[in-house]
Structure formats: C-alpha cells, structure tokens
Amino acid sequence: MSIHVREVSKSFGSFKVLDRVSLDVPNGGLVALLGPSGSGKTTLLRIIAGLEFPDAGHIEEDGQDVTQRHARDREVGFVFQHYALFRHMNVFENVAFGLRVRKVPREEVRTRVDELLRLVRLEGLGGRKPGQLSGGQRQRVALARALAIRPKMLLLDEPFGALDAKVRVELRQWLRRLHDEIGMTSVFVTHDQEEAFELADEVVVMNHGRIEQQGTPDAVFDQPATPFVMDFLGTVNVFHGRVENGRAYWHGIPIDYPDYPHAQARDARVYLRPHELELSPVTGDGSPVAGHGQQAPSLLASVLRVTRTGALTRVSCRPQGWQTELHVDIPTESAQRLQSKLEPGARVAITPRRARVFLPDPEYAI
C-alpha cells in the first residue's frame, strides 16, 4: 500500500509539532523518519497509524482519504517504542490478540500464531510471559503481534531504541531481510542515522516539525539539502568562509562551488566532514616529510590527540593561530602507519578533499 501525507499540521497546545508536512511512501518501500527528539517524527508516525489526528491536511492510502479513519479500522501494524506487550498475557496470546478480537476461528488462530512465532524465531516460547523475555525477544513478539492481522503496512516507533548495541545490529539486519521477504510497506522512526542508512530505502530527515530532505541514504548523505541535514548526519566541522567567482575560500584554500558564479563576494558557511579531510605529516617549517608528498594548498596544524573509534581513527588538531579544534578521520590502518608522526604536538598539513557550502538565507541574518 502506498501512503501519501498531504500538508499535515499538528499542534499540542501552542507547540507546533508538525508544520505542513508532505511525504510519499511508495508501495513496498521501507522508509526511515530520521530526526532529533522533538522533530515531530513520532507524531507523524502516529498520525499515519490513526492514533493521532492532524489539525490540518490529509492522509491517503492507495489514493483513498483515510484522515479521519480510526486506528482500529486502518489495518496498520504498529510496533511501539517499548513494545507495549500485554503483560498479563503469554507470548501466544499476545500474538493472537488481533485475531481473537476479530473472532477468527480457534484452529486458524493456532496455525497463524505458530507460523508467526516461527517467522520471528520464537517457537517454543509461546507460554512465556513478556516479563520472562529478553529485550530482543520482546521486540520480536511485538513484531509478530503486529503482523498477525496481516496489516497493509507496518509502522515502527524507534524499533531498536531500547536494545543493546549488538542485539540492535542483528535485529536490524533480520528486519531488513524480513521486509525483503514479505515486501510490506514499512515506515520506522529513528534518531540513529546508522540505523536509518542501513535499513531504509529512503530516509526522511525531519527537524522542528518539517521535512528537511527526503531521498536515498546516498543522496541525503552526499547532497545534503540544508545545513541541518549536513550537521545532523555525522560529525562535521563548520566554519565561516566566503564565496566568489564559483569558488569558496576556507582559510585561503579554494574549494569549487559552481552554484555561486557571481563576482561579488559573500559570506558563507563551509561544512567539512572529518573523513573528507586529508592529513599528511610535515616538518617543523611546514615542508612535506619525505614520502608524504602534498601539493594542494593546505592548512598547517599541530596534533592534539588521536582517538581510535574502530575502523576510523580521529585525529584532533589545532591549526596555527586557531582557538578551536579541527577533527580529521583517517583509516585506522593509515594512522597506524603514521603512528610516530601523529604524536601530540606533531605538525601536519590538512587538505580538504571535499566541502559543502551553504549561503546564509538572505532573508534571515545568521
């Protein structure tokens, strides 16, 4: 089922949670609503589910207006953030609930629930109470319960938020495979960009009740539409710079910026991702260390500290004459090769491989 959200607004008291939000979810798509807390993503999900009603705007399912249709009649599978399992029922009864209230015959309930428990790999645990399950198991019960009614779409609110890191990654991959198997239109809410990028076909970045950008993970990451998206997706170094003649200048280093061909110089914000900076060791006077050639214009800095974060190593440096720090992520392998040349106090040259420039909106002063 395809979902179309049209100009939906919602306020709680004087607080505007959603401000004319429009969104399309294609049939069979797996879409992530990504944003910081308070960005309105959970409210949007609940409005799609019929658990909340918008103040203005419409929700369409397969072209049919369902805005005022109650959750009970939406045929939506909803997985709550803390699973909301019925604590007094065992796993079997939890999964069977949607079938029982529909008066499905006993035999059919048994067959369907057994089939679902197999699907979520919980066979044999039907007699357990939710309190006797681990977080990951409870999350799968919640999923089986939502799928039992053969919903037309699946909505998940922070589905992995309450799980520890390892279980989270496993479940994420499992959910992706499950989605590919049953191909149900799914929307999930998350504040974790890694989760959104790994799981979703399409990512919707939200902030302050508005959609900042919607696109594939690659598109959103590589061509962020707004400074917020740039800032929200991963760490970023932000600087004041200037643009003129199709180039942006960052501490005298030119970066191509064809979007601004005008001769008149303007202030701009330059965003640099730590992994898109290059770092090479230099001697005390700034000349390249033998074997580490460097031609492009670069910025001289001294190393403050080196932190390994897994496959990447973060080098924090302070460029000459700066008060602030600059972060550079390099592959841990290269860091290990450069080890002695990256000790605190060592001199390095930093070259931006890529940068994004956002001009301040002329209507708003920044």
Binding site: L51, R72, V76, G77, H82, A84, F86, R87, P130, G131
Partner: protein, 292 residues
C-alpha cells in the same frame, strides 16, 4: 540486588531491642489487646450465647442484613466511579485536572459527621431538594438510599486513589496497541485495561468494603437511628451498648472485628501480588534500558 530485609543502619543491639519492645508494646496496647477483648467479651457466655445474641434479636438480624446490603451497593458504585475517574485522570490532560484529583480526597479530609449533615441539608425534608423529593414521594434521609449515599461518600476516594498511580505507571501504550490491532473500546477495557489493574482494583474494593461496613459517623446522621429500620451493624453495636446489653453488643462487634481480620489477610495477599507486579514492571523497564 540487595535483599529488602538488609538492615539500613546498624544500631546497637540495646537500642534495637528497646525500639522493637516499644513498638510491640504500642501495637499490643492499642491494637491487639482491645481487639482480643472484643472477642473475649463476645464469647464470655460461650459460642451458643454468642449465636443467640446475633440471631434471636430481630433488630440485630436486620442490622446485619442492612450492612450486608448497603456496603456492597456502595462498593459497586465506588468501583464504577473509581475506574471511570481514574481512567479520565490517568489518560487525559485537561484544565482543572489537578483540582479534580484534589476533590477526590475531600471525603478523607471532611469529618464523616459533617458529610452526613451535608447530605441531610440537601436531601432532608427541610433540605434543598426536600420539596422535590416529597413531591416524588422519595425518601432518602432516614432510609436505605441515605445510608448508601453516606457510605458511598465516605468511601469514594478508596478505589480511585488505588487506580490512578497504577494506571499512570502502566501508561496508555498497551491500550493503544489493542486499538491498533482492531479491538473495540469494550474489548480494550475487558481484555487489556481491567486485567492490568485487577490487583489494584481488588485492593481498593477490599479497603472500600471494610470502610463501608464499619462506617459510623455519616451513617449515624442520615439514618435517624431507627432500630429494625435504619440501624446498620456499627449503629446497632452502639445502641446495644447504651442499653447495657454488653454481651449482645460485643457479639455484633466481634462480627465487625472478624471482618476486619479477613480484610487484613486479603489486603496482605493482594499487596504481595501488587508488589510483585511492580517489581516485574521495574525489571522490564531496566531491561528496556539495556541493563538486564
């Protein structure tokens, strides 16, 4: 996790023993001895005399019957009101909500006698609704409906007060999940809400019933104290006592005291269930937070 019975502080054995002895003495003097003496008095003439005192006096029989009918009606009213009010307060935010919660407590802070007088002022013959009630030929004060009203008033907070914290702790998500799975309002209530609050509800009902059976002040004012008509068990105890029929009075009192003991046991059993459910909830929350 540390055992709940682990000592919090380490007082010296002497201080410890002195405190335990003081507590035991007070509990013994104020609770155990008076209660025991009620039973002792009631059974001075033996079990058969006790039985005769309870059953061979028509007015006493009527008082027992009246208490056994008034209290359950008041408890049922309280239960329905308690569930509805707790649901309203726990699931919705509206202007005046905290004022409403405070109003639930009024019957606790108002003296029962005052409550009874207030009811007389409204429903009595000279009262606000007096003429209307006379015209309808409905008798409320000095009659059974008045007893129910007074009993309901004084027990009003007991059920709702038990349910509000439990419903707030559980939150609305299970109910919303049931709705999204296609349950009707009634199905949500009977299959999800009611089972999750059942122990708290039973706790409230037991307390309300004990209070309803034992209520004296408010009922005294609205009943008019008519033997064989509006005397409930507590009123009967007092009347028999005033008439120097102490053994008969104590026989009725022992029934009330026995009821209190049964309530105590039921309350204890229910509280253990409630505690274990609260523990389950806490464990579940901790696991959610990633600390199994």
């Amino acid at each position: 996790m540390t055992s709940p019975r682990a000592p919090v502080t380490h007082a010296s054995p002497v201080v410890n023993a002195a405190l335990v002895a003081a507590a035991a003495a007070i509990v013994g003097l104020v609770i155990v001895v008076p209660l025991a003496s009620v039973f002792a008095e009631a059974f001075t003439g033996g079990a058969s005399a006790w039985w005769v005192a309870l059953t061979h006096d028509a007015d006493t029989r009527h008082a027992i019957w009246l208490s056994l009918t008034v209290a359950p009606v008041a408890v049922v009213i309280n239960t329905v009101f308690g569930i509805a009010a707790a649901w309203l307060v726990a699931r919705f935010r509206f202007p005046g909500r905290s004022l409403l919660i405070s109003l639930f407590d009024v019957p606790f802070s108002v003296s029962p006698v005052v409550a009874g007088l207030a009811l007389v002022l409204i429903f009595g013959r000279q009262g606000l609704l007096g003429p209307t009630l006379a015209w309808l030929d409905w008798k409320i004060i000095f009659a059974w409906p008045g007893l129910v009203l007074a009993t309901t008033f004084v027990t009003l907070p007991l059920v709702v007060r038990e349910l509000i914290p439990v419903m707030e702790a559980i939150g609305p998500d299970e109910e919303l999940a049931a709705v999204s799975l296609g349950a009707s309002g009634w199905q949500v209530f009977t299959r999800v809400t009611l089972p999750t609050i059942r122990w708290a509800l039973l706790h409230g009902i037991v307390l309300a019933n004990a209070r309803a059976m034992g209520e004296f002040g408010a009922v005294y004012v609205v009943s008019g104290h008519i033997a064989g008509v509006t005397d409930t068990m507590p009123l009967r105890v007092e009347k028999l006592f005033q008439e120097y029929r102490t053994p008969a009075s104590m026989a009725v009192a022992s029934v009330l005291a026995g009821l209190a003991l049964v309530t105590l046991v039921a309350k204890f059993a229910i509280e253990r269930r409630l505690e274990s459910e609260a523990r389950d909830l806490a464990t579940a929350r901790a696991q959610d937070a990633g600390h199994p």
